[in-house]
């Protein structure tokens, strides 16, 4: 197992002094004014110092890998090692990087087209392998960079440049997909909810294994207001529910609503009108059985009254691909002939000509 290098006292001190500026590169940010990406970048630049301090990671051990899309310009703005790769393939570059360098902290930034259209397969394979990557999916339900075609998360019937009569395909639910792909950490947050966003970034950083975070991100040019109906400050408390491990599912501005199970069906109950808190569903992010997380991933589909969950849906401890492979390598390197070049060349059946 590649041991984490010991940090020198100077390095520790250096890390202690990290601030937002340290993670801000000299490149001009080029998103449209008003784009939700700005908020995510700001939270990331603010949170990284804390993450580094908490985990003792020097900045140079952080890498950000992205695909192509508006969102994927992210690495240019982070003052770390970065890789703006090709469309849909970020998880592959990130996997190779992490597997060969387990001591790095590797983030992936991707969009709904990048991760779920062209890149869907790489995403699910990175997740099922539990490669220790932190994957941030900026879901704006549209192709931003190519100027506004519908994406796999766009609602059916969406009129866009490429679908003048409305799209006919059904959208995919990123969280359901991540859960089906055996993701060990699954979460959701919203660009504008900066505090919650920051907290989720920190949780993801702490997780050992693939962390999948869907971030609802407003594209004010091509899909403005896509999440307004629940993400708007005015309605957010009533239309979303913040998941908390071990806590009963309560939401609403007045904390007056709860979620109860009726068989397998979630229903909203009115706590103000006598419903019993003890009958409520209790969130459990640690259960290996994916049923609860699956159910929550589609909570808002149950009926008009069920809210959109945000927070950590699942957080499981499972050995990572990079860790397990590293162990195999370490074990192999204990063999007496490990690294013996002469033995390498002379292996197999040999004979000698005098």
């Amino acid at each position: 197992m590649t041991a984490k290098p010991e940090l020198s006292p100077e390095k520790i001190k250096e890390i202690e002094e990290y601030d937002r500026k340290i993670f801000t590169s000299d490149q001009i940010v080029r998103w449209c004014p008003g784009c939700g990406d700005y908020s995510i970048l700001a939270q990331m630049q603010k949170t990284m110092p804390e993450i580094c301090q908490e985990q003792g990671i020097p900045r140079e051990n952080v890498a950000v890998v992205s695909g192509i899309g508006c969102s994927s310009r992210f690495p240019y703005y982070m003052n770390t090692y970065g890789f703006h790769s090709i469309h849909g393939r970020a998880p592959t570059f990130a996997s190779g990087l992490k597997i060969s360098r387990p001591e790095l902290q590797v983030w992936v930034v991707t969009g709904d087209g990048d991760a779920l259209s062209i890149g869907g397969n790489h995403l699910i394979h990175a997740l099922r392998r539990n490669v220790d990557l932190k994957i941030l999916l900026f879901n704006n339900r549209i192709y931003g960079l190519t100027k506004g075609q519908y994406s796999p998360t766009s609602e059916q019937g969406k009129k866009t440049k490429s679908t003048p009569q409305g799209s006919v395909d059904y959208p995919i639910n990123p969280l359901s997909l991540a859960l089906a792909a055996e993701a060990t950490f699954v979460a959701r947050t919203i660009d504008a909810d900066t505090k919650h966003l920051a907290s989720i970034l920190k949780r993801a950083a702490r997780h050992k294994g693939s962390a999948f975070i869907e971030i609802y991100q407003n594209c004010n040019i091509f899909n403005d207001g896509a999440f307004k109906s629940f993400a708007d400050k005015k309605v957010r408390d009533d239309r979303t529910i913040v998941l908390e491990h071990g806590q009963p599912m309560v939401f609403g501005k007045e904390k007056d609503k709860g979620i109860r199970l009726d068989g397998l069906k979630p229903v909203v109950v009115d706590l103000a009108n006598g419903a019993d808190e003890s009958s409520l569903l209790v969130h459990d992010e640690k259960t290996t059985d994916p049923t609860l997380a699956n159910l929550l991933a589609r909570l808002e589909e149950a009926d008009e009254s069920t809210p959109v969950p945000v927070g950590v849906f699942r957080a499981l401890d499972k050995p990572t691909y990079d860790g397990l492979l590293d162990e195999q390598v370490a074990t192999a390197q204990e063999q007496p002939n490990a690294g013996d070049m002469a033995a390498l060349l002379a292996g197999g059946e040999t004979w000698t000509v005098q």
């Binding site: 590169s25 490149q27 020097p58 900045r59 140079e60 051990n61 952080v62 890498a63 890998v65 192509i68 690495p75 240019y76 003052n79 770390t80 090692y81 970065g82 890789f83 703006h84 790769s85 090709i86 393939r89 998880p91 592959t92 570059f93 990130a94 996997s95 190779g96 990087l97 992490k98 597997i99 060969s100 360098r101 001591e103 790095l104 397969n121 790489h122 394979h125 492979l325 195999q328 390598v329 074990t331 192999a332 390197q333 063999q335 002939n337 490990a338 690294g339 070049m341 002469a342 390498l344 060349l345 002379a346 292996g347 197999g348 059946e349 040999t350 004979w351 000698t352 000509v353 005098q354």
Partner: protein, 624 residues
């Protein structure tokens, strides 16, 4: 093969009881059903020949199906072996001896056998049912099909069952020993030591005692049978070749590549990362490398070829030797990512074990038709380096060379092997570790004035600064880069400049690769046969034959396809005619014509099979 001089036949062998005839070289082919154990039979004979001091070249021929129904034509598996007291470079054009374990094996292989050759067939299998499966309406032994051949019909199955009946082994397993009975006959015919093969057998089956015993009995019985029955009139001896002294092992191309990349990474003192997705005939490189974790090698079986190359580029970004491997269709899938590696100037190496195309083509057959894909198969102006090993053992050497080029010039390298090299084998004189070339690799670590696209004045390589290094943080990507800073740039002049720089960098590789050598008359002559890759053995052998007859023909073989060796134009200019034999429709020919505007001529074969020496020989004669 490493042969000191072209020796004349040696006469120093031969103490056999029936006075063996000494011959220079023999080509034999074992053929049978997939389940008949032909590969192991062949490799046992190969090893025996090695110990006998012969020069050797081998080639297996697997069926395209995993296990086609027993007894059918698609189910036939073969193993061809050329062993000689002279220098040889190919598994031989046409076998002189064919061991056919069933009618299907006979049917598939008969057309390759030399007229007058020897056939040993398992007469127990020449039953109605098997004949029908092989597409024979009549027994070929009775139709005259085998006239002119020296046919030995031996009831191999029943003799074997008889021989092993006391070992207590099951009937099924007993029947499987018939290949060893056939091997016994062959060992006798070529005056070979039983002991040597028994020794190898002990290693192979030692732990399974019953199986070992049965196989031993079958082998010995076959040997004794041949010695006794007096039907095998001819007995032959192939003397020692004058090989350079040393310790040898047989090396198949893919195995050589595995060793070469492991060794090369060690020489470069960088970890080796191999991202790959299984595909014939490249899979055995993935399988081989997965056994080298004790050299720190990490293999990653990716979900597809794109993920495979992506992971390798990611690893190269992280400071590893980023290696990925596949065959033609897989290279097509990697094209976009190779472009990214060219733009980000990372040391990526892409192995293409070429096979018959286009599309899925002929997956188990060989071809050299991906050279222009390697040159041009990406969008935009996107030059990469290209190397190609010329023999199975050369796969080792060129692997190290690929690593050297990739790391020295920070450039993607395509490594073009093919199905013939992958599975063909030849003896390899095991080098001393100290004799391997050194590979010096630097990583940028000094933040002072660091710029990710500032170039080395000699090689034009940009610095390789890897994550984890404080102060050299930077961002790579597929958008055009500004000179020096590496920032995204849409500036027109910068784009032109960077395009030229990327091209020039690849051209400069020529400064550190060996000159093109002429085999034959370095000062020129009538015909130069120019080749690349796996055709080396056939070309050189053909040239030697014609030269032996006094023809003024020479040859030169390219192992570097992009850039070409610096002296290539000069070499070409010395000859009246240039002949370029290729297992494609003329791809190197195309490059040579475009580059030097010379009227070279092609000899082109796309049949899924290597050149026969005779085919090239004939063409040379035409040109002389």
């Amino acid at each position: 093969m490493v042969v000191e001089t072209q020796a004349s036949p040696l006469q120093d062998g031969g103490s056999g009881d029936s006075d063996p005839k000494v011959v220079d070289k023999v080509v034999i082919r074992f053929a049978g059903d997939s389940g008949d154990g032909m590969q192991i039979t062949g490799s046992f004979f190969t090893h025996n020949s090695a110990l006998a001091g012969n020069d050797i070249s081998t080639l297996p021929d697997f069926p395209a199906e995993i296990r086609a129904p027993a007894g059918t034509l698609p189910g036939v598996s073969g193993f061809q072996l050329n062993f000689s007291s002279l220098q040889i470079m190919t598994p031989g054009d046409t076998p002189e001896v064919l061991v056919a374990m069933n009618p299907a094996a006979l049917k598939v292989n008969l057309r390759d056998l030399v007229r007058g050759g020897t056939i040993i067939l398992n007469s127990d299998t020449f039953r109605k049912n098997n004949l029908k499966k092989a597409g024979y309406t009549e027994d070929p032994r009775e139709t005259g099909d085998l006239e002119g051949y020296n046919v030995h019909a031996v009831p191999l199955t029943s003799l074997t069952l008889e021989a092993v009946k006391d070992t207590g082994i099951s009937h099924k397993l007993a029947g499987r020993c018939k290949n060893m009975f056939a091997l016994g006959i062959m060992l006798w015919m070529y005056d070979r030591s039983l002991e040597a093969t028994l020794g190898l057998m002990t290693k192979k089956f030692g732990k399974m005692e019953e199986v070992f015993e049965a196989n031993k009995k079958a082998l010995t019985a076959g040997y004794n049978y041949a010695d006794t029955v007096e039907v095998f009139t001819g007995r032959f001896q192939v003397g020692k070749a004058k090989l350079v002294p040393g310790t040898y092992r047989m090396l198949m191309g893919n195995q050589a590549a595995v060793l070469g990349f492991v060794a090369g990474a060690q020489l470069a003192k960088r970890p080796l990362f191999y991202g790959s997705y299984p595909i014939t005939p490249a899979s055995s490189i993935l399988e081989g490398l997965s056994n080298f974790k004790h050299f720190g090698v990490k293999t990653f079986q990716a979900e597809d070829e794109i993920a495979a190359v992506g992971s390798s580029i990611g690893a190269a970004f992280g400071g590893a030797i980023g290696l990925t491997g596949t065959s033609g269709p897989g290279v097509a899938l990697k094209a976009e990512a190779i472009g990214l590696a060219a733009m980000t100037e990372l040391p990526l190496i892409v192995i293409n074990v070429q096979r018959g195309g286009p599309s899925t083509g002929l997956p188990t057959k060989t071809e050299q038709a991906d050279l222009l894909q390697a040159m041009f198969g990406r969008n935009g102006e996107c030059p990469v380096a290209i190397v190609a090993p010329q023999s199975p053992a050369d796969c080792f050497t060129m692997a190290i060379e690929a690593i050297r080029i990739a790391t020295k010039y920070m450039v993607p390298v395509m490594y073009l092997s093919d199905g013939y090299l992958a599975n063909g084998a030849e003896p390899w004189s095991i080098p001393e570790v100290e004799d391997l070339p050194g590979i010096e690799v630097k990583n940028a670590t000094d933040p002072e004035g660091f710029l990710p696209y500032q170039r080395d004045p000699e090689t034009l390589a940009r610095p390789w600064a890897i994550p984890g290094t404080p102060g050299t943080e930077h961002r790579l990507g597929g958008l055009e880069k500004q000179e020096n800073t590496g920032n995204v740039s849409y500036d027109p002049e910068n784009h032109q400049k960077m395009t030229l720089l990327r091209a020039e960098k690849v051209e400069r590789i020529a400064q550190s690769i060996p000159e093109l050598e002429v085999h034959g008359d370095p000062d020129g002559g009538d015909v130069l046969v120019l080749g690349w890759g796996s055709t080396y053995g056939s070309i050189t052998s053909a040239v030697n034959r014609v030269r032996d007859r006094g023809g003024r023909v020479s040859s030169a073989h390219l192992r570097h396809l992009n850039p070409f060796p610096a002296n290539i134009e000069e070499v070409l200019g010395k000859f009246k005619k240039i002949l370029i034999p290729e297992l494609n429709m003329g791809q190197l020919l195309f490059l040579i014509r475009a580059r030097f505007c010379i009227e070279a001529e092609g000899l082109n074969k796309v049949q899924g099979q290597p050149f026969q020496i005779g085919e090239i020989e004939q063409k040379i004669e035409e040109l002389l």
